[in-house]
């Protein structure tokens, strides 16, 4: 089994709890104007992507296992290559050297229920981006509907596999009072309520078209977080990511009840 890989980062502290080995798969189903990694969007081989045997990935992860909390498969959109993701997770679960690592997927949520059914037994959780709750705004930002994203969030909640929901705040697009309040209400109705991470749009890595949007300020992110709490989300579950120099936050806990 092979995976089309955009890049591998063997030590990351920004892709889930602890130090993680991160595999960025090539190819995405969305066309986000705000994408930080536009070269990973094409589902076809590119000058920077490469085919990698899943077993080779698993072996490289095993070499680094003493330094890791876990593995995150990201993208692009990880679930477009769900069979490779499943094969990698199965290989990691089977090897005693890597069996204790947590296995997370970082996804835009645009996947069919069958994909999550297939991954769930081997996956500790998924971190899902919710670009916008409003379908029109979602289409403006991503070029696609958010129907499957919302279904994925509900399904992962029911399966106890939702690690966190990330909200990428784009000033003037998805930060208004009505949208934030509606998003808070929708997320607060989930049972259990997932951890929610507020992140700000930045220009780094984006295409020229993204310059039509302003980057989010720290003040705006704090304001959005406060409005999410006011809208019904428990304060203990709302975090802002990307503000350096703040008092270090306690490490998030990963549910570890995955099977296999």
């Amino acid at each position: 089994m092979r995976a089309l890989v955009a890049d591998v980062v063997d030590a990351s502290c920004v892709d889930g709890p602890g130090n993680r080995y991160v595999v960025f798969l090539q190819g995405c189903s969305f066309r986000c104007v705000t994408c930080h990694n536009p070269h990973t969007i094409s589902p076809h081989p590119t000058p920077t992507s490469r085919w990698v045997e899943v077993d080779d990935l698993a072996a490289d992860i095993a070499r680094r296992a003493p330094f890791l909390s876990g593995v995150t498969v990201s993208g692009g959109e990880a679930t477009l290559q769900w069979e490779a993701v499943r094969a990698l997770f199965q290989a990691l679960a089977a090897d005693p050297a890597t069996a204790l690592l947590t296995r997370l997927v970082d996804s835009n949520g645009d996947a069919d229920p069958e994909v999550w059914e297939a991954l769930a037994p081997w996956m500790h959780g998924a971190m899902i981006d919710l670009k916008a709750l409003d379908p029109v705004v979602h289409r403006e930002l991503t070029g696609c509907s958010n129907g499957r994203v919302l279904c994925s969030i509900r399904q992962l909640t029911a399966m106890d596999r939702l690690t966190e929901v990330r909200l990428l705040i784009v000033p003037g697009v998805n930060d208004d009072a009505v949208q934030v309040a509606a998003t808070a209400r929708w997320l607060a109705a989930l049972d259990p309520v997932p951890p929610v991470v507020v992140q700000g749009f930045r220009h780094e890595g984006t295409r020229p078209a993204a310059r039509r949007y302003r980057p989010a300020t720290t003040g705006l992110l704090e304001d959005v977080a406060a409005r999410l709490v006011a809208g019904g989300l428990p304060a203990s579950l709302v975090r802002i990511r990307g503000i350096v120099g703040a008092e270090p936050a306690p490490a998030a806990e990963v549910p570890v009840q995955a099977g296999a």
């Binding site: 130090n19 991160v22 920077t48 990307g242």
Partner: protein
């Protein structure tokens, strides 16, 4: 130096506007000592010292107290002190008062104690009477006094490996007071130290760049369970210490080598090792045989120090430049930390040095079998264009794993301590479990000492001690500073280009997967 030069040097100290009273007294004492002739050594050894092949770290011409002492504070607390006229303490306040009184009479090279003891183990029995709030308040006062009475960042306290109320309170207080004293080491035993305590330690590292971590099982295997970490990661026997620390400049040794790299360990290294050992022996004999320290010090007569618990430290530094120069002799342009052949030569040099030091008898070193202990010496403020200890050159550090693979094989050879500073990108402050993971991985791969620094923090780790950035600025502008170590630190910061240390594990913030090829 003639008498006129000595007079001039002393006059300069008397009139130096940047020195505090204590700093001036300490400098005057050293100047007076240096009027004497140093302990006699061979002409070759004297030349090696004069030319910088070996370095006595300005210990002074007439060693009259051990360089580093680690009094047995647990014994002192249990038996009280005749000299200090103190009975054994029974309350927390009595215990900290007792310890402060003892510290005031502990000698070392710096004029201040270099070791405050295993503070959590010493104080835990007295903490039972206190609520958490009372413990924090008292520990905070104690911490403030440690810094104000002993303003020297080489003064070092140890914590761990077991969890407890005092270690937790100490870390919390340390984050709160933001002092460079006490320098702090957490002993880590993967079987004993809970992850949650490590996480607390990393929270402290993110705030004040401390504690340093030491591999407890590895230390116990080499020195027994009565060891302490003092000054700049110097691990030494409790109840004793180190008579001296002399260091060999491997870069200078390589520059004096003629021929191919392959003959260095056979031809040049043994000569350099012996010259270093000769100086150490002369200094130890002066201390033990000509001065009354081991007969008359109250620490010795009350059993808190004993000669049979002493050793001596044999330091190495400049490995990076040594290896690169030797390979250049072969016409090869390789870098330690980047090229495997350079790493292999580095490891061969360290292993050979360890063997030679272990074969060379050293007087009055009963605590380590009559031999000196090898130490990777982390530098001096005046060092330029030579890398501390056995570290990879500043600014040339490769990625995290590659860096650790280059340096970790050296660690087993340095029972008296070794430090390789891992500077983490500041995004780690949002995910401290990542730092815990890296620490555990590093210990598992055989690292003896693990030191983290977070890029752009308020505190900069120099060799093994800390300085505040604002104190570096004060020294640069000619102002005095309260900590004597900050004067040294400011020199190192400039001369060793410490701000050029490369942060590791850098992933651009927030979902950035741009290939880094």
């Amino acid at each position: 130096m003639g008498i006129e030069e000595h007079r001039h040097a002393i006059r300069e100290l008397i009139e130096d506007p940047t020195l505090t009273y204590r700093q001036r007294i300490q400098a005057l004492a050293l100047a007076a000592e240096d009027v004497l002739e140093p302990p006699p050594v061979s002409e070759a050894c004297a030349q090696a010292l004069a030319k910088g092949l070996i370095c006595d770290l300005a210990e002074g011409h007439a060693p009259h107290r051990p360089r580093y002492t680690l009094p047995d504070y647990a014994k002192a607390l249990a038996q009280g002190s005749t000299f200090l006229e103190l009975t054994p303490p029974t309350t927390f306040d009595d215990a900290t008062t007792f310890l402060l009184a003892v510290y005031g009479s502990v000698p070392s090279i710096t004029g201040y104690p270099v070791w405050f003891g295993d503070l959590d183990a010493l104080l835990e029995p007295f903490a039972a009477e206190l609520t958490d709030e009372e413990l924090r308040t008292r520990l905070r006062r104690f911490w403030v006094l440690l810094d104000r009475l002993f303003p020297d960042a080489f003064a070092h306290a140890n914590l761990g490996p077991t969890d407890g109320r005092v270690v937790r309170a100490a870390l919390a207080v340390h984050r709160d007071v933001r002092q460079v004293v006490p320098n702090l080491t957490l002993r880590v035993d993967p079987d004993v130290t809970p992850d949650d305590l490590l996480l607390d330690a990393m929270r402290t590292v993110a705030t004040v760049a401390q504690p340093h971590l030491v591999n407890h099982p590895m230390m116990v295997a080499d020195l027994g369970d009565r060891y302490g970490v003092v000054s700049c990661y110097n691990s030494l026997p409790v109840g004793g210490g180190s008579h001296t620390l002399v260091r060999l400049n491997l870069k200078e040794a390589a520059l004096r080598h003629a021929g191919r790299s392959s003959t260095f360990v056979r031809d040049s290294l043994p000569v350099a090792i012996e010259l270093t050992a000769e100086l150490m022996e002369a200094r130890i004999r002066h201390l033990v045989e000509r001065t009354p320290f081991f007969e008359t010090s109250w620490l010795v007569t009350e059993g808190l120090l004993s000669l049979d618990r002493f050793t001596a430290m044999f330091g190495l530094f400049g490995l990076a430049e040594c290896v690169e120069h030797l390979l250049a002799l072969d016409g090869r342009d390789l870098r330690y930390g980047r090229d495997e052949d350079a790493d292999a030569l580095a490891h061969e040099i360290v292993e050979t040095a360890a063997r030679l030091v272990a074969e060379r008898p050293m007087p009055y070193c009963e605590a380590s079998g009559g031999r000196a202990l090898l130490h990777s010496q982390a530098g001096l403020d005046s060092d330029r264009q030579v890398t501390a200890g056995t570290r990879v050159a500043v600014g040339g550090e490769p990625g995290l794993y590659r860096h650790l693979e280059a340096v970790a094989p050296n660690h087993r050879w340095f029972p008296a301590g070794v430090s390789d500073i891992v500077r983490l990108d500041e995004t780690v402050t949002e995910n401290l479990q990542a730092a815990v993971d890296i620490a555990k991985g590093a210990l598992a791969m055989g690292m003896r000492d693990v030191t983290f620094e977070v890029a752009n923090g308020e505190f900069v780790r120099v060799t093994g001690y800390l300085v505040r950035r604002r104190d570096i600025d004060r020294v640069a502008s000619g102002d005095g500073v309260r900590h004597s170590s900050s004067v040294l630190g400011a020199g190192s910061f400039t001369n060793a280009r410490l701000d050029d240390r490369r942060p590791q594990r850098v992933r651009s913030p927030e979902r950035d997967a741009r290939p880094r090829r």
